[in-house]
Amino acid sequence: MGKYEYLALLGACVLITLPLEFVFRARVWRRPRRALRALVPVVVVFGIWDVIAIALGHWEFNPRFVTGVTLPPGLPIEELAFFLVIPLCGLLTYEAIKTLMRWFRGT
């Protein structure tokens, strides 16, 4: 995997949580506008934090596992993907659990 390892890990997170959308009727992917209203502020806030922390040298990315492609303010594309994928997994988990709880209640 090499330089795509970080992206592949995030891709695996997307694939593993995808069944929640259908089996447990999470309906997050099918409500994209609502999802974006939840995700865009996360990308902005955590993206700014990330750019500053990287500039200050608080953390960096192993060049063996990232593409090296960076968006203008200094945000690696993998980090942009991270700030979308991980909260998305959280939304899918939350909605799936709501469905499960409705099933257990029999409603």
């Binding site: 390892e5 970080y6 890990l9 997170c13 609502r34 999802a35 209203r37 939840a38 995700l39 502020p41 996360v42 806030v45 955590f46 934090w49 922390a53 200050l56 040298g57 608080h58 953390w59 960096e60 990315f61 192993n62 596992f65 990232v66 700030f83 991980i86 909260p87 998305l88 997994c89 959280g90 939304l91 988990t93 939350y94 659990i97 709501k98 709880m101």
Partner: protein, 110 residues
């Protein structure tokens, strides 16, 4: 004080304040939220464990910004606070963006 745990705690407190003082979706009173957080943390262990595995991590931290606690595996423990802030922010905004009345019990006005 090391920067990463300090800012993670501040981010978590800011998200809690956002919910309790402003958006008031009532998500902290929902058991689905707390169960979801447990599930997210459980899945975080293999994913973040892979990202922070010593000696071949994807993310390399300056040791001086970390608390020094690494548990479980090689995960800097403050990552769980960071993850709480990030995922809770998304869930609160998701509830807020939903149709009114569906997101939680009716809000009680003081």
């Amino acid at each position: 004080m090391p920067a990463y745990p300090v800012f993670s705690v501040l981010a978590a407190l800011a998200v809690i304040a956002l919910e309790l003082l402003w958006l008031r979706t009532g998500i902290f009173r929902r058991s689905a939220y707390w169960i979801a957080m447990v599930v997210v943390f459980a899945f975080m262990i293999p994913v973040d464990g892979w990202m922070s595995k010593v000696p071949d991590p994807i993310v390399i931290y300056d040791p001086s910004v970390l608390s020094g606690l690494r548990f479980p595996i090689d995960i800097p423990t403050e990552e769980f606070v960071y993850a709480f802030a990030m995922v809770t922010l998304a869930l609160v905004l998701w509830e807020r963006a939903g149709p009114r009345g569906e997101s939680s019990r009716p809000r009680v006005r003081a």
